[in-house]
Structures are given as C-alpha cells and as structure tokens.
Amino acid sequence: MAKKFMYLNRKAPYGSIYALESLEVVLIGAAFEQDVSLAFIGDGVYQLTKGQNTDGVGMKNFSPTYAALGDYDINKIYVEKESLEERGLTLDDLQHLVWEDEDDDWAEKDSIRLVSRAEMADILDEQDVTLSF
C-alpha cells in the first residue's frame, strides 16, 4: 500500500544544505514507489528559480536536477502563490518543470501546480508522511 509522502521545502538554496539534502532524499525515496509530492513554501520557492549560475561561488548548481524529477514519476510539485508574491516572483521566474504521461500517449504535462495557502493546508493535511526541510 503506497503511502502519501510529502517533501516540504522551506529554505533557499546554497545558503544552507537543506535544499540539496531534500533533493537527495527525494531521489533516493523515488525508488520505493510511494505517492510522492513536493511542496515549496516560504524561501523554498527560491530553489526553483531559473537561470541559477554558481560559477562565481564555487558551489555545485543542483537546480537542473529538479527537471529530472518527472523521469522519476514525481509530478506533483506544489508552489504556494502567496510565497511567490511576497518575494516579487511569478511562475515565469521559475523553471518550467514537466513530466510525460504514459497513459496519455506520453503527452508532456506541467509538474508545477500553483496553489493558494489554503489549498496548501489541505494538501499537507492529506499526507501520510511529511518530511520538512
């Protein structure tokens, strides 16, 4: 019986190790065929900004890895609208993450779902396990 796993991401990338560690755990967890969702709230939304370039800081740019999540059947990526707005961001500032639906002739579909805080509360409430980073 697959459980609903939520990875809740609340921290900006690079300033601490949380964002990268979360991504590592998500990819490891993907092997266990659970019902996985990711949520990005607060500074966590900064993890998904496009155009990250770490050449100048000598750190690994792990942002391209988010684009691989679709290949691991992780296609429920919730981004909180209020968190984006507080930060002067819109969906256009984030990477365009997609997955291929094998039940729909491998049609490419959006992975990111923009939700309100109230909707996010309901989504979190539905989970069996929530891992917070």
């Binding site: 921290k11 900006a12 990338p13 690079y14 300033g15 601490s16 607060g42 500074d43 900064y46 900004t49 496009k50 155009g51 990250q52 370039n53 770490t54 050449d55 100048g56 800081v57 750190m59 740019n61 942002s63 507080e86 930060r87 002067g88 961001l89 500032d93």
Partner: protein, 100 residues
Amino acid sequence: MATLHTVNKSPFESATFETCLGLAKSGSTILLIEDGIYAATQGTKAAEAINNAEGINFAVLGPDAQARGVDSKLADGIKVVDYDGFVDLVAEHDKVQAWL
C-alpha cells in the same frame, strides 16, 4: 566611523537585515551576501526599505545573486560588486561588522 555591514540571511527567514538597517548609521554601507541578497530583489518589502533608507549605501555580491538566479531581479540603483569589489569596500571603510 564608516562601517561596512555584511548581511548573509534572507530577510524572510530572519530579522537580521531589518535589525542591521535599523542600527546602521548614515555613511555606512550594507553589503548583502549569500541569502542576504534576496533583500535587494524587486517587489519585496526589504527592497522597499532599501529604497526608503537615506544616507546608507547598499551593495550586493553579484556572484551570490547569479548563483540564486535573481541577478536580473535586483532593484534599480543597487550597486553590484564582485569579490574584488568586496575587498575594495572593506578597504574603504573603517571597520567591518559581519551580521550572522
């Protein structure tokens, strides 16, 4: 004395930037580094506070903004420096206060 303040925390995660801004004297410089650079991005309350602050200079460490993908979102009029510019700022001020 002209002080160079460095702030490395996101303004959404901690009150460091707000506290620093409240205590910084006219003629000092606040250099935003690491997650502190988000304070200088357009459309945030912190950027508004920067815009309204008088007598204080602001700078952003460019490589940290580029790493985070927000270098094109920095508020108008914010000075962007590289590591050499960071060193210059240190040399130009009487002392450095690193807010952690």
